[in-house]
């Protein structure tokens, strides 16, 4: 307790109450749409359409989950989401880290020009090149294939730049020692740099996976077959004109779409809170 706190306890108390009330309100606003997804997913259809609407189901049911697998090839969509988001993440981590290694550790003619060129492409929004990329993927015969979904995103300028910065921050002595022992550059990359870059790779990997798992426009453009879409793009087929699918079924599909990322976040969050708590203790 500081001296000011002791002098004016009542006013500070009121301010603290306001702070907590404000935060409770903000948290409620953040959680309401998530709560409606979770609760509605388990509501019988009669209750979903009943008036007045309620938040929590009176009776819990799994019928909405059974129906989402009837309305859509949902098992296939889950697989597609995993292959697409997972594939992009793995390839991008591999190719980005290889390129970043060359830019951070190998001195060669033109490295600066190349780095600037890569940073320049970082500013291009993918929406701006969507049409020629679509034409190229179509010419390759890759529409409705995993290759078409993954290949255009299998290298990423941001990832290269991000990993280069991280590699530069690793002490040179680490790889110089290996160089003296006669290790090849690839061996240094694989056995010295990558193991030391796990936190950066994790950060970039989570970022890439979440972005692709949640993307709508990309799978919408590169897949026309309902069997090749992702969970996100598949669910949009049920809305819009003619989409008279009960909300409970939509929310069951939405819950399945959100669940893997929510679980992943809650697991990472614990570590995140830990690191914040330790640095905040100083």
């Amino acid at each position: 307790m500081t001296a000011t706190a002791l002098r004016r306890p009542r006013r500070l108390h009121a301010a603290s109450v306001m702070l907590v009330l404000g935060m409770l309100l903000a948290a409620a606003a953040a959680l309401l749409p998530i709560a409606i997804i979770v609760f509605t997913a388990f509501k019988p259809i009669a209750e979903v359409n009943a008036y007045p609407p309620t938040l929590v189901p009176g009776q819990w049911t799994l019928e909405n989950f059974a129906r989402i697998f009837e309305e859509l090839p949902f098992a296939r969509l889950i697989l597609n989401s995993v292959v697409f988001a997972g594939g992009v993440t793995l390839f991008a981590l591999l190719f980005d880290s290889l390129a970043a290694y060359a830019l951070a550790r190998i001195d060669f003619r033109g490295s600066r020009v190349l780095l600037i060129a890569i940073i320049a492409t970082l500013m291009i929004p993918f929406q701006a090149t969507l049409i020629p990329v679509y034409q190229l993927v179509a010419d390759l015969g890759w529409i409705n294939t995993y290759a078409g979904l993954i290949a255009p995103r299998a290298a990423d300028a941001f990832g290269i730049f991000f990993l280069r910065q991280f590699f530069l921050s690793l002490p040179r002595d680490l790889d110089n020692a290996a160089r003296i022992d006669g290790a090849s550059e690839f061996r240094i990359f694989r056995s010295v740099i990558l193991p030391n870059a796990v936190p950066a790779l994790l950060t970039l990997g989570i970022f890439t996976f979440v972005n692709n798992w949640n993307d709508l426009l990309w799978p919408l453009v590169f897949t026309t077959d309902a069997e090749m879409g992702t969970i996100t793009s598949g669910l949009t087929l049920l809305t819009g004109p003619g989409g008279i699918i009960p909300q409970g079924v939509m929310m069951a599909g939405s819950l399945i779409a959100v669940l893997p990322l929510a679980v992943m976040f809650l697991m990472i969050q614990r570590r995140f809170i830990e690191s914040v708590a330790t640095t905040g203790m100083k």
Partner: protein, 317 residues
Amino acid sequence: MSTTLHTPATRYRPPAPLGGRSSARPRSTRRSVLALLFLAPALVLLGAFVAWPMLSAFRLSFTDSSGFGRESWVGLENYARVFTDPAVLRALGNTALYAALFTPTAVISALLLALALNHPRLPLRGAFRTALFLPFVVSLAVAAFAWSYLLDPQIGLLNHWLRGGGIQLGNVLQDPTLAMPTVALVAVWKNFGFYMVIFLAGLQEIPASLREAAVVDGASAWQRFVHITLPMLSNTFAFVLIVALIAALQAFDQIYVMTGGGPFGSTQTIVMEIYESGFRELELGFASALSYVLLAITLLLSLVQFVFFGRREQDTQ
């Protein structure tokens, strides 16, 4: 370090810094080949799927291509259409309106919540942070499903609660004036947690000694906020602002789900227009011209961001 100098086997030289002088010494071709091997997969992919499409879109933007058959050169016709066609001008205006609604709301709410989370007397800090960040893992499309249901005029829970409080919203997604604020709100809900976390990181970089010194000098909470927190946070603020603006320019997902650009084109944005003209009406030339307009605006904002980034890096050195 001294062992490095004495060993002839080492070929390592530090890479050229981005802004520094390049070394005048000749570099071995072997190292260039080696570097190219490492770079090859990324360069091939970026070349094929970013660089070449950039050039291709530029060429397309001067043609009447439909993707099939013959295409002819139409000069600046597509660009002229971008700036004269009332529907396209409306989409540009709508995007500006969306950015004007989304950016300040998202950035300011993120800043306020980061300040609250950073407040020394806040209990359950971790739980609040988790709750506030959770919307960020929900896709915009799924957020759009949930909000559409919450706001449904008949069975929507939020609409029902608001009616109970005397607020008659009606069918917001069918209302030409309320549809745009609604789709912007959905994006604010999804993204504020992300900006909040960036602000939190910025806040934690402010040395505690500054605040303590101000407390000792008798500065009020408001004075500390205006004279310490805000100036120390200005770079973070500029960064978040530009990232949010660029995100606003690319608005698509929740609009596609909630309104499809309607009612009466009132939520039609640039990317919605690119998608529809490019992939539904197959006017590839026109869609490419519009893409280049989007690109030009984004590049302008990115350059501002880059300048700020450069300043940030210099500041920390």
